[in-house]
């Protein structure tokens, strides 16, 4: 595998290793407040990712936003086949982790660097759950 030279380490992770297209957000995220849970599109007016579809992406957000609905929401969108591959937060909250665990979706948090310093939207990245790193593939 062509592993990239750019990588960051992470402190907390649940779920298997995955690779996919990165989406780097400058704004936090809640599947309750920001997401259309039928299309997978971020619909909150003015959200920095408004209009983007999260399906099959590896999503990087600086923070989680409130709302316990996320606990069911990830399981719901998984069964609607519009779920992302993984969620990566700078700072997260229990709801996001509980929701990801219930949906068996990879989630990571507490990174060694800001993801925007290494990756950009559209890059292919790999989250390695064993080594606790995220690296640029291409």
């Amino acid at each position: 595998m062509n592993t990239g030279s750019k990588s960051l380490s992470l402190r907390s992770i649940f779920g298997p290793s995955v690779e996919g297209e990165a989406v780097i957000s400058a704004e936090g995220f809640s599947p309750r407040y920001d997401l259309n849970r039928w299309t997978g599109e971020i619909t909150k007016p003015g959200h920095k990712l408004e209009g983007l579809t999260i399906t099959d992406k590896i999503l990087f957000f600086p923070t989680a936003k409130g709302g316990v609905a996320a606990g069911w929401a990830f399981y719901d969108i998984l069964h609607k086949r519009i779920a992302p591959k993984a969620l990566v937060f700078g700072k997260t909250n229990p709801v996001m982790v509980q929701g990801a665990v219930f949906a068996d979706m990879t989630i990571a948090a507490e990174l060694s660097d800001l993801p925007e310093n290494l990756f950009k939207t559209g890059d292919t990245v790999r989250i390695d759950a064993e080594r606790k790193v995220i690296e640029l593939l291409c």
Partner: protein, 415 residues
Amino acid sequence: MTMKLTNEEKAMLAGESGPAVQRALQEQISVGEFFGAETFVPVKNVHMMGDIEVMGDAGLAFLKDLVSAQVKCMTPLTTNARCMDFALAEMLGQDSGAVKQEHELIACLREMNAITTDTCINYQSVYQPHFGEHVAWGDTGTVIYANSVFGARSNFESGPAALAAALTGRTPAYGFHLDQHRKGTFVVNVEATLTDLADWGALGKIVGEAHQDYFSVPVFDGIRTSPTSDELKHLGTSLASYGSMGMFHMVGVTPEAPDVETALGGNKPIDILTVRDRDIEAVYAGYDPKDGNCGLVVFSGPQLSLYELKRIAELLDGKRISSDTQLFVTTNKEFKTLADDFGYTRNIEDAGGIVMEGVCFYLLQNLSQIREARGWQNLVSNSAKIVNTITAHRFNTILRRTEDCIECALSGRIS
């Protein structure tokens, strides 16, 4: 970090209490280990969010499987506000299929021994935990109130996590269950005079947006009044909504904050904010009422206490809401029943308003379609939380003080 399990927990994990409990405990371990928990703590009260709008077909199927397996909650479990008031669902244009599913979902929960209270203000009605009590509550507003005002201990427990806690009778000990995370991390000097519930929500917006972090714990100092439960409710729900926060201290008010130093517990504050009257006014000035038409006024998010219902009823007594405006109030079954008895409901309805039971307005099933069908654009509320959460449904929201909301409803124009 691997959690240390008791013999009882090891037996659950081995499947001796059945596969549902086994799965629940495994999920709790995964969450606990993510956050570095070393042990579980027992809980005797669980509050869960679960309705068809958030759970969807997959969530309902999950519950039906549990019912088929005759799984029961071993800890009392109450439910949060849900997505429809059956008496009003058809009038609002909610899906008949979803109505049927919601009935099925409630039946499943009752079959599992849950108490379907349908309230996001359980702390003002059905249960008040004692100081230091560990609970597993969902709805962020319930958690921040439990931690801050009662001195009880809970993390945000989303639907499946709360259900897991009800099945296992415990929750992993991380976050606000531990002393170390309950200490203040920054200080807010409140110089502003807070006269309305919306002012408390505006304060929460300012502070929450400044430190969006679950593990941020503001210490409010300088509050010159003795706040009511409703004022603390609006502050807490706003902090949770804008800042994802689960706890605050208020010097001289909340039980772990006799003074700033004690509330900080040895932490050096990472920030010291000052909030003045002009900062509160700037919040109100920050909303754009667009064409100025007031199509919708909502008192909800969180559900209204009996005292809030009484005030709205008094403000509307003998008045008539503009024909261009619709006004909704939401509360729980308990307070709706009392409001019916005391004539508050009649006052509000005589003025042209609608009182909904067991729901929160922003949770309503099909809300985006309802908004479009009714041509709603501007939404005015005294709740800082709802003017944030409901924007996902593309409302243009405007926060106003309670009396100003009523004035908007009467005139049909946003002042």
